[in-house]
């Protein structure tokens, strides 16, 4: 038995006065052995990211500080080190992979420069050796064209690639401990699986200990050796992965695991006789590339390439794909928030793309959208009732009647009508998304386009919102175009699924059949990449979820 790389005893982190609780963490005990992956699991606000901050000594002091306890790294007490000594350790022997690669990377510097910087600070390598090492690292994290990405700025590469860059930076000095703070949350399944594999590979090769912070039990099932469950700063459960996943003891853990959508598609329903409400034909969208004289040209991107589909009344059609597959572009073209290069979008027989601006405004009532980020998609300066009633009022409804209807809609999405006079920032994420759904319903549309409507929400909230969507769809006979990256979510709701890759449809079919027997290799790969696919959540028939 070797000594643990990281050993945390009785860690307490104090929050400033006026916070919802006095301690962000109260009494955390945790150790990470070399070559071990320990998952720290909890919902948003459980204090898991602050743990990472405490280990790296990057807490926003003095407001948030370590009140009690010890953090030992390779036997050394991190809390007793000077800032200078800590700098030597950060990025070299302890590396961190952040939650949001876009904000963790400097937008002003090229990707290559930023990885190079780590090597420059912690190694004595020469310029050429560093460049070679950077390209090697980029290749190691499976970035397709390392040379092009070396010269790209963070905003020019996709989200998945940015996270790979972050990991390349963390790997640069072959650290002994890696703190991964939700590193795969923003990624698609295949990328996620590759990165999880990559993390495993590194850990086996280097014997590094990994503290993996996540909210996703699928990921836990995929990667964890041991699991620590946090709830509101309290450690509620700790044990080996098999124990916690299959025989959870604490009610909180049981509730979390119970909320995970099962990978069982709904029974196929027959829509062959239903009328077609939305038909897309030959849609193409190309984004012109930008590049500079020095860094060289980057190829133009075809986001959507000759895409056609039909959606019948009452049906839910899933559009599934990785980031960059063009699925979000499809949702924007279909609602004509983005102009298609060619093709047609027929809503109830009228071509939306051929409409004049005036006709278009009239047509918009038939096709409504639920957006991904409920905070960004609600105007922060409008009251909830005005947000919901806005559409009908624009289309000539009596303002008073529209507001009264808005209150009814709030009840329909299971919010109290008292919410009507509040502003969006007063609500939680799940409640905001309900408001977004109510706004879409207010127009009594024929088609609802939902663009990743639950991907910004916690698992337990996600389950509630999905249930609501399914419920409303059945009651109001809605047709839904459901764009998602999450196959578990797609399996919950969609009757048919379109699988997209690089702007093209690679496979389409009834969900149950497609999940059972995927024919295209890409679909097979997607399905094989679902985190924790080998683990079926135990049946925890409790009402706690």
């Amino acid at each position: 038995m070797t000594d643990p790389v990281l050993d945390i005893r009785g860690l307490r982190i104090a929050l400033p006065k006026g916070a919802d609780r006095p301690f962000a963490l109260s009494g955390l005990d945790l150790s990470v052995n070399p070559g071990e992956i320990v998952c720290l699991v909890g919902e948003s606000g459980s204090g898991k990211s602050l743990t990472a901050g405490a280990i790296m000594r990057l807490l926003p002091e003095p407001h948030v500080r370590v009140a009690d306890g010890s953090i030992r790294f390779e036997g050394q007490d991190l809390l007793a080190l000077s800032e200078r000594e800590m700098k030597q350790i950060r990025g070299d022997r302890i590396a961190q992979i952040f939650q949001e690669p876009m904000t963790a990377l400097n937008p002003q510097k090229t990707v290559g420069w930023q990885i190079d910087e780590v090597l420059r600070l912690h190694t004595g390598l020469g310029r050429k050796a560093r460049r070679a090492r950077v390209l090697e690292l980029l290749d190691l994290v499976h970035i397709p064209d390392p040379r092009s990405v070396y010269h790209a700025y963070p905003h020019q590469v996709s989200g998945g690639q940015r996270q790979r860059v972050m990991i390349a930076m963390a790997l640069a000095c072959e650290p002994k401990l890696i703190i991964a703070d939700e590193p795969t949350t923003a990624l698609d399944v295949t990328t996620q699986l590759q990165i999880l594999k990559l993390i495993r590979e590194l850990q086996e090769k280097e014997g590094a200990g990994i503290l993996f912070i996540t909210h996703d039990f699928g990921v836990v099932a995929e990667i964890a050796d041991r699991v620590v469950v946090l709830s509101k700063g309290e450690m509620v459960e700790q044990g080996t992965a098999a124990e916690v996943l299959n025989r959870p003891k604490h009610p909180y853990t049981r509730a979390l695991i119970g909320a995970i959508p099962a990978l069982v598609p709904p029974r196929p329903r027959d829509f062959r006789d239903a009328p077609v409400v939305l038909r897309a034909e030959g849609l193409v969208k190309t984004f012109a590339a930008r590049g500079s004289l020095i860094s060289g040209k980057r190829a133009p991107v075809t986001a959507v390439d000759n895409l056609s589909f039909t959606l019948r009344r009452g049906e839910t059609l899933g559009v599934v794909g990785e980031s960059g597959s063009g699925k979000t572009t499809v949702s924007r073209i279909v609602t004509r928030l983005l102009e298609s290069d060619c093709g047609a979008v027929e809503v109830d027989g009228t071509d939306l793309l051929a409409c004049s601006p005036r006709e278009l405004r009239e047509m918009r009532r038939h096709i409504q959208m639920v957006f991904q980020d409920p905070m960004a998609s609600l105007n922060p300066r409008k009251r909830v009732e005005d947000l919901i009633a806005q559409g009908p009022i624009v289309h000539g409804a009596d303002p008073k009647a529209a507001r009264a209807r808005a209150r009814e809609l709030l009840e329909l999405v299971e919010l109290s009508p008292a919410a009507a006079t509040r502003y969006p920032h007063e609500f939680s994420g799940g409640q905001r998304q309900r408001i977004g759904i109510a706004r879409a319903l207010a127009m009594e549309p024929k088609v609802i386009v939902a663009d990743e409507p639950v991907s910004a929400l916690d698992v337990s909230v996600q389950a509630q919102v999905l249930k609501l969507l399914a419920d409303l769809r059945d009651r109001l006979d809605l047709s839904v175009l459901f764009v998602t990256h999450d196959l578990r979510v797609a399996a919950q709701l969609c009757d048919r699924v379109i699988v997209m890759q690089k702007g093209r449809i690679v496979e389409t079919g009834v969900t149950a059949e497609l999940f059972a027997a995927p024919s295209h290799p890409y679909t097979q790969q997607l399905l094989a990449s679902i985190p924790g696919r080998g683990w079926t959540p135990p049946d925890l028939a409790t009402d706690a979820a």
């Binding site: 928030l337 405004r361 998609s377 105007n379 624009v394 299971e414």
Partner: protein, 292 residues
């Protein structure tokens, strides 16, 4: 359905109340408000102090302050009452300050909103025009405009507005550029909201707070510009204005300093009140910025 989904957070105070609370937390801002209130009172009561004409002869020329209670702050070299001029001057300063600010913000908002919202060639054209204005030094342009238009108080106000709309225009454009790509704009567009309503009802209210804060700066600057013009003798001679008073007091600065210093203090305090108000508004309207 579980109670958790219908639970609402505790009601927050009305936006106006919250705004006032954040504003009142800043002591300096309250001082600014008091000073501003004092200027308002001066402007409002000017008619009581001197109902006929503040520019009439009220006593012996160059009476020192606090010697003759008919003219408490003394008189200038033409025997005009300094106190009366000071109160009537507050009217002119406020009039110029408020009107010039409103005008310049209005021009700035329209130009900035159109440029930021539509982008492309609209943006190019409008921003080149803005830059053309910005390349000419403010005061030089103001002097030229007043020389062309004449120096009545209306034209001075207009001229000040014309030289100070560029900064708010750039500010509004920058806000629009970042706001127009936010999802709530797409959401409103998707409801069938027209471009005009998108600009003025959806985006503008979100873009306004920094502009409102900047308005206090423009107001202070307008008052300074008007005073500077008057100091150079280009003010409207038919109105008592603080700038005019300083300009005329300059001639007797060595012997009778109070003729220039009293209106000088009035200008300093007024400009100070605007800048304190602006800071308080900044705290109140952009609370997140200050917490860092």
């Amino acid at each position: 359905m579980t109670a958790a989904t219908t639970d609402l957070p505790r009601a927050e105070p009305a936006p106006a109340v919250a705004l006032w609370r954040r504003f009142a937390r800043n002591r300096a801002a309250l001082l600014g408000l008091v000073l501003f209130g004092a200027v308002l009172v001066m402007a409002a009561t000017a008619g009581l102090i001197e109902p006929t004409d503040p520019l009439r002869r009220a006593g012996d020329p160059l009476t020192k302050p606090f010697t003759d209670w008919a003219v408490p702050l003394g008189t200038d070299q033409l025997g005009r009452d300094i106190l009366a001029q000071l109160f009537h001057g507050a009217r002119i300063s406020l009039l110029v300050g408020v009107l010039a600010t409103l005008l310049s913000i209005a021009i700035g908002v329209v130009v900035g909103a159109l440029a930021g919202f539509f982008g492309g060639w609209v943006d190019d054209v409008l921003m080149r025009v803005t830059e053309a204005f910005q390349t000419i030094p403010n005061f030089v342009l103001l002097l030229a405009l007043v020389a062309i238009l004449g120096s009545s108080i209306e034209y001075i106000t207009l001229a000040i507005a014309i030289v100070s709309w560029t900064a708010p225009a750039r500010m509004v454009r920058a806000e629009f550029l970042s706001l127009r790509s936010r999802e709530f704009v797409d959401a409103a567009r998707n409801l069938g909201v027209s471009n005009g309503a998108l600009i003025f009802r959806e985006i503008l209210p979100n873009a306004l707070p920094p502009v409102i804060v900047y308005a206090s700066v423009i107001m202070a600057l307008s008052i300074l510009l008007e005073s500077a013009l008057a100091f150079l003798g280009l003010g409207d001679p038919n109105h008592a204005s603080w700038g005019n008073m300083i300009g005329q007091g300059r001639a007797v600065l060595r012997t009778d300093w109070y003729c220039a210093v009293i209106p000088g203090i009035a200008i300093v305090l007024t400009v100070l009140s605007f800048s304190l108000l602006g800071e308080g508004l900044n705290d109140a309207l952009n609370p997140r910025q200050k917490k860092q």
